[in-house]
């Protein structure tokens, strides 16, 4: 509410972050895992004095360098662009609390990029021993970039003792830090193997191609063996309220927003399982038949698995952006009572200005919508308000909004997935008026019976 709001129609700002972040994660995991791949494979080539593997690495490292330093870096910065635009309040908190960590991360990135350039351009200019050392240096630097960003990412889900101490190291080394770190390393080795399969499949020497295909497939062995165990470790440290959401989703009708977390969890598990099976039946059992086309298909599969897992991980955190501290719409949890008492529209620099500009009640309602709802809902696209409002008229909507203001989980079943609505009664009325203009009070063609929210006073027909 202290910053202007960026309206992204149909898709919603959240998906701008999501799409960029998913691509970046896929590339950055290749960068880190690929660093380990370069170090270990070059070590293999050095030990066996195998010129063919050196030749392969030359080819592969060019692909690696360009992909990670260009696309990886650009998408990484693009995330900053997206989160600053979509959720400036939340971004501000991350910057202020982890300034030192961000600075360190920047230094490691700079060193990492410098090292990869030196690594590639010095291929035949330095001795094999020095070159191997460069590979190992790159591996170390890229893992350090993971070590730092992992702290901030996991802080958002489990801030741990930071909530009380506000000491940055408490937030950094939080309950999900180590499970997430190990999980991501396992994923990175797998992705490194998958990307390397793409370059391997283009080798002209059949013996080497067959050998490299099998070698790359083995890089998925760590996640095959340890993945489910580490995943279990991670899940057991996730906030308990989230666990409740997951288990609700096992039983309840698949149709509906209450179960989306459980469903994306399943999708992530299924696609991840597929990746491992694909590696086994493809390059491992049939390395001769492993073509470039199959490698690309594999890579696309991997993107699907990564995307669904990142989506699921983000859903774990709802309705917060920093768990139990800041909601997804940028409102701090501790400010909620004050906002309800003093009003929402006259707190916050920008929201106050915008609401003063509004000419009528519906206009003020729109400001309420933009600052409290639009971080997750669009009017007619993703999580469409139009669909969710159904046939409700203004009175029914106002009644629903009053329920959403409740902070008692018995009275407001949505607290598990939505922030409580803040504001005075007049502001809620304005919001109701605005929302009525979205669905015009028109009859909805969606009739689905789903026994969700048994205690709510308003019948809900949620659907995606």
């Amino acid at each position: 509410m202290n910053y202007p709001v960026w309206v992204v129609p149909h898709l919603g700002g959240g998906w701008i972050i999501g799409i960029i972040a998913i691509i970046h994660v896929y590339l950055s995991h290749f960068a880190v895992g690929g660093g380990a791949f370069l170090a270990i494979t070059e070590g293999l080539a050095y030990k066996r004095k195998d010129e063919r593997i050196y030749e392969y690495l030359r080819q592969h490292s060019r692909f690696f360098m360009i992909l990670t330093s260009v696309s990886g870096a650009v998408t990484g910065v693009a995330i900053w662009w997206a989160i600053a635009l979509v959720n400036p309040d939340g971004t501000a908190i991350l910057i202020q609390n982890f300034t030192l960590a961000w600075a360190l991360e920047y230094l490691f990135f700079a060193a990492e990029l410098a090292t990869v350039f030196v690594y590639y351009y010095s291929w035949d200019k330095v001795s094999p021993e020095v070159h191997l050392k460069l590979a190992r240096l790159y591996c170390f630097l890229s893992i350090m970039t993971l070590v730092i960003i992992n702290g901030i990412l996991t802080f958002m889900l489990t801030p741990g003792t930071w909530i009380k101490s506000h000491y940055w190291l408490d937030g950094f080394l939080n309950p999900t830090y180590f499970p997430s770190l190990i999980m991501r390393l396992l994923i990175m080795f797998a992705i490194a193997g998958m990307y390397a399969m793409v370059t391997s499949s283009r080798l002209k020497d059949e013996d080497l191609r067959v050998y490299m295909a099998k070698y790359c497939a083995k890089w998925l062995l760590p996640i095959f063996l340890a993945g489910p165990l580490v995943a279990f470790w991670y899940i057991s440290n996730v906030p308990q309220a989230t666990m409740g959401n997951i288990f609700t989703g096992i039983q309840t009708s698949g149709v509906g927003n209450f179960s989306i977390l459980a469903r994306t969890l399943y999708l992530s598990l299924i696609l991840s399982g597929t990746i491992v099976l694909f590696a086994f039946f493809g390059p491992y059992l049939n390395p001769k038949g492993f073509t470039f086309r199959i490698a690309i298909l594999f890579l696309i599969c991997g993107l699907g698995a990564t995307g669904s897992t990142e989506y699921m991980r983000e859903l774990l955190r709802k309705p917060f952006v920093v768990y139990n501290y800041v909601y997804s719409n940028g409102i701090r949890k501790e400010d909620v009572p004050k906002l309800c008492q003093d009003g929402f529209l006259n707190t916050g620099v920008w929201s106050r200005a915008c609401s003063k500009e509004a000419t009528d009640e519906a206009g003020r309602g729109e400001v309420m919508f933009r600052y409290q709802c639009m971080s997750c809902h669009t009017t007619d696209g993703y999580r469409s308000m139009k669909k969710l409002l159904g046939e409700r008229d203004e009175d029914a909507i106002y009644g629903f909004l009053t329920m959403l203001k409740e902070t008692n989980p018995e009275k407001n079943q949505y607290l598990g997935i939505m922030p409580p609505l803040t504001g005075q009664d007049t502001e809620l009325k304005a919001l109701a008026k605005y929302l009525t203009t979205i669905n015009h009070g028109a009859p909805s063609t969606n009739v689905g019976t789903t026994p969700v929210v048994p205690k709510a006073s308003v019948a809900v027909t949620p659907s995606i």
Partner: protein
């Protein structure tokens, strides 16, 4: 050889002495797949087989909780969807799997058609395939009624009404299927039996013949492939090479199914009310949209025949072309071969156009 390997050899020998496995292995080793620019279509049959297996497995699971009685059918599906652990998951696998299966079968049918795999000696493969296609559409039609929600009730009503208009027995067949003159418990029971017993037995039998024929005659090769010099033709062994690639494609298909099931699970409409009005804009499932839309645009009277009847007859004649094609295009006349291809293209385009038209209206 380490100790762990020896017992395995003994087991194989033991089985072989009793089951004659060596013969089977030798036969399997011979099977090979021609590699050419259209080889990708060879995967279609395998994907269909995998989806059928999923349908059988999820179908059995659903039968544990489904009750084919008027009072209980809808409630039992609702219970599966909302109270049974993972119930919605298996049900959506079944519903989405059915749709994917029919889509894959359309790909399989037309790719086999355009590759002219119906020619001698594969006519029986073609005919069993055609009958299997009809059976699968039958699976779709009968299964659709079982949840007993308003859309399924009226879709079945419309379908049976159309069937009853077919001359020479249509009325009788429709009454037999319906178990009376109105859709009720008798219909539900009959559709259930057809869906879980009659059609599966027929399908398994026909698939057995279909697959046996494929093993017997080998993979069909397109005409241009046969003209390539024998030495230059590339083949890939089925066991294990092509089978492993098959598995990869199956994994991809499973991924697609999983994404559909988890991101867009199958819902359930309100319980059917036989005396209520049909839902506004009711349409059959997409695989029946083409004939549905076609019948909609046919004028109400064509000469002495009622419009719908004429339309149904026209569709039957056109589709029967698929049945007669092995006798028309034997591979000896390039003109006939070309005409057969055009026929297939026109038929496919018509189906696509009418389906899209039906979806948009």
């Amino acid at each position: 050889m380490t100790n762990s390997v020896k017992p395995k050899v003994d087991v194989m020998q033991w089985l072989d002495e009793r089951l004659g496995l060596q013969e089977a292995f030798k036969f399997a080793q011979k099977k090979q797949v021609p590699i050419h620019k259209h080889s990708v279509w060879y995967y279609m049959g395998g994907i269909a087989l995998m989806l059928i297996a999923i349908q059988v497995a999820t179908g059995v699971l659903l039968m544990v909780y489904y009750i084919p009685g008027l009072e209980a059918a809808h409630a039992s599906i609702l219970r599966i969807n909302s109270q049974v652990d993972f119930g919605w998951f298996f049900r959506s696998l079944h519903s989405w799997g059915a749709n994917l299966l029919i889509a894959v079968l359309v790909f399989h049918l037309f790719s086999a058609y355009f590759m002219k795999a119906y020619r001698k000696p594969r006519e029986f493969t073609w005919y069993t395939g055609l009958i299997l296609m009809v059976l699968c559409l039958g699976f779709g039609f009968t299964g659709y009624l079982l949840p007993w929600d308003d859309v399924s009730f009226f879709a079945t009503k419309i379908g049976l009404d159309i069937a009853s208009k077919v001359p020479l027995g249509g009325e009788q067949v429709a009454t037999l299927l319906r178990g009376g003159h109105t859709i009720g418990q008798a219909t539900l029971s009959r559709f259930f039996v057809i869906h879980v017993a009659v059609l599966p037995i027929l399908a398994v039998g026909l698939m057995g013949i279909h697959l046996a024929m494929v093993q017997l005659h080998g993979m069909s090769e397109p005409a241009y492939f046969k003209t390539i010099e024998a030495a230059k033709r590339t083949y890939e062994k089925f066991f294990p090479n092509f089978l492993l690639k098959d598995l990869l494609v199956w994994l991809l298909a499973l991924n697609g199914l999983a994404a559909l099931v988890t991101l867009s699970p199958w819902g359930l409409g309100p319980e059917a009310d036989p005396f209520g009005a049909a839902p506004v804009g009711i349409k059959p499932e997409w695989y029946f949209l083409a004939p549905f839309q076609f019948l909609k645009i046919v004028p109400s009277q064509i000469g002495p025949l009622e419009g719908e009847l004429a339309g149904a007859l026209l569709m039957a004649v056109v589709c029967s072309g698929l049945a007669f094609i092995p006798f028309y295009d034997k591979g000896d006349d390039p003109a006939k071969s070309k005409l057969a291809t055009y026929y297939g293209v026109v038929l496919l385009l018509a189906i696509i156009v009418f389906t899209i038209w039906g979806a948009l209206s």
